[in-house]
Structures are given as structure tokens and as C-alpha cells.
């Protein structure tokens, strides 16, 4: 699939379990981002990456781990899921040329029981 994809689209897990959300983009964009969206909080940045093997914390990084071994993939791992991590997670990518437009994936709805 062209563009930016996320998997799974829906996930239900239990407190304490490890969960990995996948993000894949086909544009070879340098930048990739992970956000969470919660009612009352808008979108908050969890982690971002400027290039392969370069990652930085965003506004709400605690409880999350990221890696970026390849430019096109940016997985997000919840090492020990908590109920407060129930949210909709969006991945996004951005190139460095032109307008630096940011494109979003379709989102993953995660429920932690």
C-alpha cells in the first residue's frame, strides 16, 4: 500500500502486557511521529524520529519505547500497558523538502482492560 499505514487498526489488551503498534510509510520521509489522541487532550506527541536510528522524546513519552532501524518503519511499544494508555494512536511522517507537510496514518484504537 502506498502512503502511510498502521497496524493493527484495533487492539484490545490487558494491563501489564506488552503491545507493539506498527507504522510503515512508503515515501522515504525522514521524519516520523507518534501521537496519542484522547478526549479533552487533543493530540499529544509521544516520540518522533528525524532519521533512522535517531529518536527523541515528545510531550508524553513515559511508558513508551520506539525504534527506527529502517527509514520506512517506526514501531511504538508499550512495555507494560496501563489503562491510562487506552487511546487512539496516530503515526505520521514528514519529508524535509518543500512545505514539510505532515501526513497521518489511519490510527490504531487501543483499549487496555
Amino acid at each position: 500500500d502506498a502512503g502511510i499505514t498502521q497496524s493493527p487498526r484495533y487492539k484490545i489488551t490487558e494491563t501489564g502486557r506488552q503491545v507493539t503498534l506498527m507504522c510503515h510509510q512508503t515515501w522515504s520521509h525522514s521524519y516520523m511521529f507518534w501521537y496519542r489522541q484522547d478526549l479533552g487532550h487533543g493530540l499529544r506527541l509521544i516520540y518522533y524520529s528525524a532519521a533512522a536510528d535517531i529518536t527523541d522524546k515528545g510531550e508524553v513519552p513515559d511508558g513508551y519505547v520506539v525504534s527506527r532501524s529502517k527509514t520506512e518503519n517506526f514501531p511504538l511499544t508499550l512495555e507494560s500497558a496501563t489503562r491510562s494508555q487506552t487511546s487512539v494512536y496516530f503515526c505520521a511522517s514528514m519529508g524535509v523538502a518543500g512545505d514539510n507537510e505532515q501526513f497521518f496514518g489511519p490510527g490504531t484504537r487501543l483499549t487496555v482492560l
Binding site: F33, Y35, H41, G42, L43, R44, L45, Y48, D56, G58, E59, F90, A92, D99, N100, E101, Q102, F103, F104, G105, P106, G107
Partner: protein, 108 residues
């Protein structure tokens, strides 16, 4: 601390009317984004404003940026029902910070 503030947070307007959504931010940046989100959907990029005085228009939406005032506006002209959505502004420094969003409802 970086703040990105949108107002109003909720906006109900009639078709055919004009209105403006405001986005204020607390630190210097020359890269301001506007997005649209429909219920249950992802975010769609509307505009990227890269410099002071930038103005971009697409259909009934026009966005502008005043970096000296740290203010961006999204102006809606002659609203139609299809514009009902939530609109977000976002500021890029090293990372990205979003405003809380403006939920727009256009009524016939």
C-alpha cells in the same frame, strides 16, 4: 513552556455565514499547520504556513500567519455543511505541538 491555544473550542454556525478560528502560540516559529479531522477519522492536512504574512486559500477556507503576533487564523467563508469537522492548528519547533481543536458544526 510552549503553548498552542485555539479559540473558540466549539463553534456552531449557519450555512452561508463567515467566521474565523484563532490559533495563538507562545514561542517563535515560522511553521504553522492546519488540519481537519472528521469524526472517527484521521487528520487531513489543510495548510502549511511557512513565513510571516503567508496566506493560503483552498475553497472556502483561508489561512494566514502573523509570526510577530504569534497568531494564525483560519477563515471560513460562506460555510456549508460539509465543512463540519474539528480543525486543529499545530506548531513545529523540533517537535510538534497541537492546539486543542475547534469543533465546527455548520447548520442549515
Amino acid at each position: 513552556e510552549l503553548k498552542v491555544e485555539q479559540n473558540p473550542l466549539f463553534l456552531s454556525m449557519q450555512e452561508g455565514k463567515n467566521y474565523t478560528i484563532y490559533c495563538n502560540y507562545s514561542t517563535t516559529s515560522d511553521r504553522l499547520y492546519w488540519y481537519r479531522q472528521d469524526p472517527g477519522k484521521s487528520l487531513e492536512s489543510l495548510f502549511v504556513l511557512l513565513s510571516n504574512g503567508a496566506v493560503k486559500q483552498e475553497g472556502r477556507l483561508m489561512a494566514s500567519l502573523d509570526t510577530k503576533a504569534r497568531l494564525s487564523t483560519l477563515h471560513i467563508t460562506a460555510a456549508v455543511h460539509d465543512l463540519s469537522a474539528t480543525y486543529f492548528c499545530a506548531l513545529r519547533l523540533n517537535d510538534m505541538r497541537f492546539g486543542a481543536g475547534t469543533r465546527l458544526t455548520v447548520k442549515p
